[in-house]
Amino acid sequence: MTDKGLGQLGDGLLFGAVIIYALAMLGFAGEQASRKARQSVTAVRASAQVLVGSGGPPVTLPAETVTTFAPSRAGRLALALTGLGWLVHLVSIVTRGFAADRVPWGNMYEFSSCVAFVAVTAFLVLVARRYVERSLGAFVMLPVVLYLGLAATKLYTAAGPLVPALNSYWIKIHVAAAITASGAFLLSGVVAVLYLVRSRYDETAALLSADPRATRRGWLRRRRQRPVRLRFPVTLGAQLPAAPVLDRVSYVVIAFAFPVWTFAVIAGAIWAEAAWGRYWGWDPKETWSFITWVLYAGYLHARATAGWKGRKAAWVAVAAACALVIDYYVVNIFVVGLHSYA
């Protein structure tokens, strides 16, 4: 039976979680801003020392040489807020489950909430295990807040019972696995984008420090030489963890999520065999899950292949995350298929 009051409570709690996440995001950003200020001070000092010490022509050290930074109160508060938001988010999901008297992932709204929850969980685990600095939170919480906001406004569905096709214990297994993998994949997609920014930043900074008037080939017009400039969003790279760290985090998360995704697809096939009479039928959802799977398999292979490591592999990870987004949102909303419900 559906409990309306409880359902509204769950919705309210999710709204609260989004607000807390947004505050945490501000905190992380504040920590980065203070770090940036400190960095520029250090950089000025360093360049001053070089000036004084050598007596030769002025040489400015690139700011990214300063990598360590003192813990800031804003950062600690932001992490605590993320933890609190996570807890509220968890309670909201559990409440939703009780309100609808079933698993709390029966439609796209609930599904999105759970995916964001997994992404935040994965981020907290990574921070706790010291894979990444917590300051990365600013870049993780931003998409989480946007994603949840979009889900709550565009995909909202009141708590209610399931359509018969979904009424199976496989919804617990198949969808739970899909949610876990998706949350992790989306996080890895964000990290891969950050890696691309950081590695572009490193490359640009190195070129500029070697020759301030350096040029490189144009992106679209390969023949044209264009001056190298540090511009937004590449300038964000200065705030990010080192490129190898981001590369590794992206890999660790995908290496965790890929077997889970594989299992989710197989569980889906077993469920499809019971519900629709065939385990695989190239339904649009199945096709896009397959594309996502192939791209992530490609990423794992690319990372072990000479000539594909680094930025190319990261682009594959980004493409795979895009395929995942198409799999959920574009297929459910715009393409007619067996998964077109909710």
């Binding site: 629709w276 065939r278 039928g281 096709t287 192939v294 398999a297 490609g298 072990a304 298929g337």
Partner: protein, 521 residues
Amino acid sequence: MTAPHTAADTAAASAEQVQLDEATRLSTQPAAPQLRAGLLGPLRFAWRRLTSMRTALLLLFLLALASVPGGFLPQRRLNPLRVQTYLDDHPTLGPLLDRLQLFDVFTSAWFSAVYLLLFISLCGCLLPRTRLHLRALRAQPPAVPRTLARLPASDSWETEDDVLARAEQALRRWRVVRRGSELSAERGYLRETGNLVFHLSLVLLLVGIAIGAFRGFTGTVLVVEGTGFSNTIASFDDIKPGRRFHPSSLVPFNVQLQDFRATYAPDGKALTFDAMVRWGRGQAVTTPYDLRVNHPLAVGGAKTYLIGHGYAPVVRVKDRTGAVVLEQPMPCLPQTPQFLSTCVIKAPDAAPHQLGFRGAFTPTTVTEAGRVGSSYPGLVRPVLTLVGYSGDLGLDGGAPQSVYALDTTSLKAFDNGQAHALRPGQTWQLPGGGSLTYVDTKEWATFQVTQDPGKVLALIAAVGIVAGLMLSLFVRRRRVWVRVVPGTPSTVEVGGLARTDPERFQAEFAGIVARLRERDE
């Protein structure tokens, strides 16, 4: 001081490099291909190219790219009606896409080419790697490299203790071989085993799919309450046999639909569908079964699924002579989620003219602006709204005709095509004699029978895929070497290497070193 490089020096250095390479190779991935002369040279080069990792990677991305149109365009095997609609809507683009097989992506020549090349490349890579891995499984860990300090993890100290004995203790779960005062240890062979199992399972999965495609069978049939079907080619409305399917492989059984029940939420959302059937292997259907979505009936290797349902009003048609020429349920095809359904009734035996009817069935009838509609999928206020015709139904021409379509070219409508609405029990007295009575309402269900002999193999392959993947991603292969250079005190050199997750290995290596040095401090 700088020593001049001699040829001997260079040779020694390169020999050491080879030895180091040999010892530090943790993967059985083959080396890059090189073009060699000779008759078989180009062939071998092509083969090596095809089985190289880069080609495989490229084919993998091509496979993803080739699937994309299948994810956006309607596919003929899935929904032929939508393909036709697309072709009608896009008269220029449609046929072009069709010629490129873009409505049959997953059976198209180019998609098949990509995945077949990928699997050939995979097999070409798997066979040598399996051989190498089987050899590695029987082999002992490689000899200690000359300079352990060049490894990613290394340490060295002086001691009087029997470090080698202690190392054998510390590395108990490793494969350890002791050669004189040197010790080599290796762990994590399951990584490559998992990798090979994963890829072999992919090949197995393809075989399972192929068996299903060649020897499998799918048939669908529409059954009204009180009637049934048998699992024979003749009793299905629509069949999709595999290319090497033989009718004798159909599992013999009979199913009768006793009662179909659907329940709906107040807003019309479906809650449950139950087809209460009786089935048996012979003519007698004795065993009751509740056939639901997600709950198919399995008999031998055949599974019966509930895939659709609708209403079948029972009608009695009398012709002008007063004879009953038709008395049976007429399945109507649902058009909307609220089950507004289209119906066609044909009475070819009516005299002197054949009779035909066309119209709509609405389970919960509402009338808006003179048009009937349905506001709820459940049977609350059923109405059968029909237009009647008399004349020639066109059945004798020999051309096959659908039972759900009425050809009105040689028919004349009653009452100038005015529709008549009937509630259960009501009779429409036709102008000029004869009548149609809406007697009762029954429900129908469509069942799909599927036999897929490749399914079990595919499931086994799926288990292998997940298990192999977990091993290949989570097991870490690593080596540790210990050398004791005798003396007073003797010098201990330790080195280690891991291809994956070097950070975690550093911690593990530090732990091993700590255990070896325990009593020294």
